[in-house]
Amino acid sequence: MAVIHEIIAHYNHWIIIFLMVSGLYIVVARGNMIKKLVGLGLFQTSVYLLYLSPGKILGGTPPILSPDYSVYSNPLPHVLILTAIVVGIATIAVGLALVVRIHEAFGTIEEDEIFAEDEDE
């Protein structure tokens, strides 16, 4: 019983691990370059949750000083993740731009077709 309670109490970590591993799996298993980027985005997003979930304190309020409250949630993870989201958007944007150029140059975005074409050169 204690074990099950332990597992349920850490449900946020299970969600994070599930998202993280499925994102990485998509990156490795898919040959389509857009799908790979989707997996990469999922992988990065799971890390946002890894930062945000420990920042929340049960019963805590947003960190605005007030005599009525004494328990505050940690705001720093939100600030960090705001930066990380921007970085993530930039990464995906550069990745998508590269895929557009690859499509122009090779006529396909499937990795196996591109490598087959590459062998012929």
Partner: protein, 493 residues
């Protein structure tokens, strides 16, 4: 006023330069602005190093917020050494860049090239100077995103594929780094590296901290192209514009090695890393595998840039070997090889860049007879090649001397033999090029080739001359590297 703000200027000046370049339309003007930035950088870096050597580490509170609350820029012997390395290489290569870029990149993209180059420089310098774990991540991504764009500007369409592959692997590496930092943050509640180190005392062996160490090690190893996480590197170096390859090969992986040193020795501490964990065994194995595996693959390459790229993977093996040996001599060898490898690989890639500029040739078999046509450039190539092998009188010998010395101090005589044996493989791949270049008759486009104009010739010859100079007078390089090694091993936090 300016003297007190030098650490911030080191990062802000290239960032401003990048913004200005992005708004320009004429490549020559962007080049001139980049040149000014690149000449200011070594001046700042050498001033910082001199200050650190006379009066100890500099702590700079960014925006006036005191660490550990605010972001701290921290300059110590090692980071000042890396700052100087990156900025000197950038300054030497920039005059070369102008002609090479004019030929390899369409005219409407010249300003973008310089803007992105400056962003890359800003990110690399930021990684080396920042004392804040998350700030380092941001700079890592600034430099990585800029690197992807630089690589994709190569003429060959396969440059796009190389950039895409690097983007996927580089992002996974950076995300692993953030996961590691996230664990450390949730355990210590701080992002300042010095503060983190003191708060880690007592919980070093708890599971989240060890998980953080694992994620950080894998993430940073992807960035520094530790064997077998190097697969992005050969294509990226082979298809990027010549001068971008030379700059990245000389600097980007070095800054990642610096991060690894920083986390291993100053955050976790040598006692945690080496006493209870199999770090030594893992890094010894991977380094030796890189030294042999990548060198053997290099022997069979047809494209000379790819050959040098695989050789880079092997040379990174020597640097991480210094970390694995982890005594004063070994660590000195690893750190001094950061600098030495940057000099010789820079000279080699610039020499090849000039061959591409004059003839368009990248295959080794097509380079026949170049020795007579481009004697100065091929002479620089020869010096760089001899240094890769580790011939006495070149910088490569100095690094390997310290590494062998460190290995013998640990009583690992077999490792000393392996270091020498792996050097012999580089005799084969360098010898192959030398044979084709100097002892065969010229044919095809090579026949009309000559040494390139002075703006390309002088930077290459300067790097080659430095390869020899610092191979004879080691007091500056090995001296500072030795100080940095002492400092790392003392575990000063």
């Amino acid at each position: 006023m300016i003297a007190a703000n030098l650490p911030a200027l080191q990062v802000v000046v290239p960032l401003l330069g990048a913004v200005i370049c992005a708004f320009l339309r004429r490549g020559a003007v962007a080049w001139a602005i980049t040149l000014v930035v690149c000449l200011v950088m070594p001046a700042i870096a050498s001033t910082l190093l001199a200050q650190v050597l006379t009066s100890g580490p500099i702590s700079y509170a960014l925006g006036g917020w005191r660490p550990p609350i605010g972001i701290e820029y921290r300059v110590d012997v090692l980071s000042a050494f890396i700052l100087l390395l990156v900025s000197v290489i950038a300054a030497i290569m920039l005059p070369y860049a102008k002609r090479s870029i004019e030929q390899e990149i369409p005219a409407d993209k010249h300003t973008w090239y310089y803007a992105i180059f400056l962003l890359c420089l800003c990110g690399l310098l930021g990684m080396a100077i920042s004392g804040d774990a998350f700030n380092i991540f941001v700079f890592m991504e600034v430099s990585s995103l800029a690197t992807y764009a630089l690589i994709s500007m190569g003429k060959d369409r396969r440059a796009l594929l190389a950039a895409y592959q690097y983007l996927v692997m580089g992002t996974i590496g950076a995300t692993f780094y953030v996961i590691g930092v996230g664990f450390l943050y949730s355990m210590t509640g701080t992002l300042n590296l010095a503060d983190m180190a003191s708060r880690l005392a007592g919980i070093e062996n708890s599971r989240p901290v060890l998980a953080a160490l694992a994620f950080l090690t894998v993430g940073i190893s992807l960035k520094l192209a530790l064997f077998p996480l190097h697969v992005w590197l050969p294509n990226a170096y082979a298809f990027a514009p010549s001068v971008a390859t030379a700059f990245l090969a000389a600097t980007a992986t070095k800054v990642a090695v610096y991060l690894l040193l920083r986390y291993f020795f100053t955050v976790f501490g040598a006692s945690v890393i080496f006493a209870h964990l199999p770090t030594t065994e893992v890094f010894l194995l991977l380094s030796v595998a890189a030294m042999f595996g990548a060198s053997i693959v290099a022997v069979f390459q047809e494209n000379v840039k790819r050959m040098l790229a695989y050789s880079s993977v092997a040379q990174i093996g020597y640097i991480t070997l210094g970390i694995a040996i982890a005594n004063q001599a070994g660590l000195t060898g690893g750190i001094v090889h950061l600098f030495n490898h940057a000099l010789m690989k820079g000279a080699l890639f610039l020499a090849i860049g000039a061959v591409v500029y004059q003839t368009g040739v990248v295959k080794i078999s097509d380079m026949a007879g170049l020795g007579k046509r481009m004697p100065l450039m091929m002479g620089a190539f020869l010096v760089g090649g001899l240094s890769l092998i580790g011939v006495p009188g070149t910088v490569g010998f100095i690094s390997k001397w310290y590494l062998v010395y460190g290995a013998l101090e640990q009583d690992w005589w077999w490792l000393a033999i392996l270091i020498v044996a792996s050097s012999l493989i580089s005799v084969v791949y360098i010898g192959r090029v030398v044979e084709v270049v100097w002892f065969r008759q010229a044919s095809g486009p090579v026949k009309r080739a000559t040494d390139p104009p002075a703006s390309m010739l002088l930077p290459t010859l300067l790097l080659a001359a430095m390869t020899v100079y610092f191979g004879i007078d080691t007091s500056a390089t090995a001296g500072v590297a030795g100080l940095a090694a002492d400092w790392l091993l003392a575990g000063i936090r």
